[in-house]
Symmetry: C2
Subunit: 418 residues, 2 copies
């Protein structure tokens, strides 16, 4: 009997630990070589499946696969490509099944956020209706931490650690300078809809740092914000502001959308951080500095959370085990059993309940005044940034692996992606 092959793909914005999940999937599949044949990966995510551009991970050494655990980014390429609904573009789903059939793929591991959970679910449904046996397992990943049914999402803990460490360090810097120079430092972090990442900035308050958090969940109140900064600077001599890119005015416009134009009439280029910094300058006159972390935060494998790396690996591992247990249309999850000492187990959630649901910060994770985190939030966040998991270094730089990524020979006619 021929063994069924597996297909693994990375979806959406990459993280510093999504490759740790890939490592978990591939190493676990290799350990079950008696039941799983080859592991193919999609070049640039699901596009690789549509284009029948499969990567033969079997050509990668055990060392290279192990090195995925400490390498940020998506080793096989990711993509921002959402499949349309089955009704609108059934042809795409059928194409995926054709490609899977042509390459003997019986296991589909899709590593991504809400959209990919949705795709994964639809694939499992369609394969059943088409009479093709496919087990579709979703591996959760998102720095936004907004997937339901799991206590946290791989990728988030490391971003949270990066934000907390960076905000702490910059706050020490500002404190040093505040007597004659910078008094307010503004750090812009990701999170278009949910404030989980910004919340991590609140973890430095316990170290005596005066910090103001601007969440997307709390409509921006300029007078209250200025009053809060003013009070903190008067009390401490300085303060740090962590602003989510998704922070917006009560009317829904983002802080970054100031309607400003440059000399050529183009829309303003800046982010939320410079806008907030300028507001403080205008209202209080304080010298400011601002930073926009952007990709640095989600790629910062050098300061990844050991908890996050471990969970990312374990969820990849568990996804393969679930497939081997005959499960379909499910996602392994993190189930927290205790805050301190932190304990969790790997659970499992049905994909029809995961897809297309966003998990926002509960209001009771945010302080009453809306500018900080609650103790409940702190208890939630702290375990997720625990532990350091440093990559190896050579010549002063981290040793990150670039795979061979050799293509599998195509067997089907080309497919036009619309």
């Amino acid at each position: 009997m021929t063994l069924l092959n597996a297909f693994y793909a990375q979806s959406g914005g990459v993280t510093s630990v999504i490759n740790a999940s890939a490592c978990g999937v591939i190493e676990t599949a290799r350990r079950h070589g008696d039941r799983i044949g080859q592991v193919f990966a999609g070049r640039n995510g699901i596009l690789g499946a549509l284009a029948e551009d499969l990567i033969d991970t079997g050509l990668e050494s055990a060392e290279a696969i192990a090195a995925l655990r400490t390498t940020p980014s998506g080793a096989f390429g990711s993509c921002r490509y959402k499949l349309k609904s089955l009704e609108k573009n059934r042809r795409e789903y059928e194409r995926l099944i054709e490609v899977f059939k042509a390459h003997g793929i019986g296991y589909f591991f899709y590593n991504g956020g809400g959209d990919s959970a949705d795709t994964c679910f639809k694939m499992s449904q369609l394969s059943q209706s088409m009479g093709y046996a496919l087990q579709a397992i979703h591996v959760p990943k998102t720095i936004d931490n907004d997937l339901p049914l799991t206590d946290c999402c791989p990728g988030f803990g490391s971003v949270a650690k990066y934000v907390a460490v960076s905000a702490l360090e910059a706050s020490f810097d500002v404190r040093s300078m505040a007597a004659t120079s910078t008094k307010v430092f503004v750090l812009e972090v990701m999170g278009r809809h949910a404030g989980w990442i910004a919340a991590a900035g609140g973890l430095i308050e316990s170290q005596g740092i005066p910090v103001v958090i601007l969440f997307p969940e709390i409509p921006f109140d300029r007078p209250a914000f200025i009053a809060r900064v003013d009070a903190l600077v008067k009390q401490h001599g300085y303060c740090t502001v962590v602003v989510s890119e998704g922070c917006h005015h009560p009317d829904g416009t983002f802080l970054a959308e100031q309607g400003s134009k440059d000399a050529f009439g183009h829309a303003q280029l800046g982010g939320a951080a410079p806008v907030v910094a300028q507001m403080v300058k205008e209202a209080l006159g304080h010298k400011f500095h601002w930073a926009v972390a952007d990709y640095l935060q989600r790629a910062a494998r050098h300061i990844a959370s050991a908890t996050d790396v471990r969970q990312a690996y374990e969820l990849g591992q568990r996804a393969v085990e679930l497939a081997l247990e005959g499960r379909n249309a499910v996602m392994p999850t993190i189930e927290r059993t205790a805050d301190e000492p932190y304990a969790y187990r790997i659970g499992v959630a049905p994909l029809d309940q995961v897809a297309n649901t966003e998990k926002f910060m509960p209001r009771d994770f945010i302080s009453a005044d809306g500018f900080g985190i609650s103790d409940k939030c702190r208890r939630y966040l702290l375990p997720l940034i625990q532990g350091e998991d440093y990559p190896a270094y050579a010549g002063g730089l981290p040793v990150y692996v670039s795979l061979k990524n050799q293509a599998v020979a195509k067997k089907l006619p080309a497919f036009e992606i619309v």
Copy 2:
């Protein structure tokens, strides 16, 4: 015979390792308790001396002083305050001498860049003319790496490591996304006049990353820049741009000065990175992301260069030894003796040759086309980012020390700082 006391102060922008120099000064002074009495520190740099606001470092435990080695920022506070010339405000220099005399200070250790070297030199001159025996030793510090007579400056190596690591990680991220999303990532780094920090971004080229560096030393050539980005994206599918905040047009205006106004008529808030990213978008249509590292880069003790930390400590240590050897108006320096394996010794330079001289990137450190670094530059930079020197962590965050910073009782009337 009463022992002479020492005065130590931090000046200008702080770094992730200036406290390692403080540690070197204080620990070495403590080891020579038979010759040096107390070590006072200036609260907020030289302002602390002018205001007679001295910190008694003797009240800090050996553990707290040792922890300075792994704590970023300026533990005693720094300041941006340049003393005027002796002719213009002789009163300030005389006040310093009065404060030193009142507190039995015979050793002056000033930890800073070019301006503080100048102040240090003037203090040594004035004390001689006033018949007050003061040994003034400068301890070099600047992330800008622009002091003459030393192969490198403490603070720079760690920023260089941060920039290289961050640019590498973000480049892996962009590479993952480039098929359907971001193709160009722009990272803005510090360096208003000299491109040393931006040059560190060039170190990732050896890892196969397509990178374009925009130096302050090379007037910005927009068509050549766009052509370079276009060629790299066509060849690699993506590219990374590292732009110095000091990058400017041929007429001297900074890239960040676009003459743009927001809806209220205020000058544009953004930095060079969004300007460069927007240019790429307009000319080539590529989706971009940009980051501004700002204080994160100079405060990033979590990813400090072990070489840099060691040198920062050793220069503090050597400053005290030089004082005990009777030297005056000098600065300990790094003298490189070999690139690979890297070797250096601590030298000494007279302050009259250090003050107010900036060291720019030599033209032969920049590639012929102006967008990269030469092999010579690479050989220079690589040893400076070698080694990791991680701080201790507790609860997921680095353990950084905040000192007691208790004031010494004042003995003089107040002094008005103008």
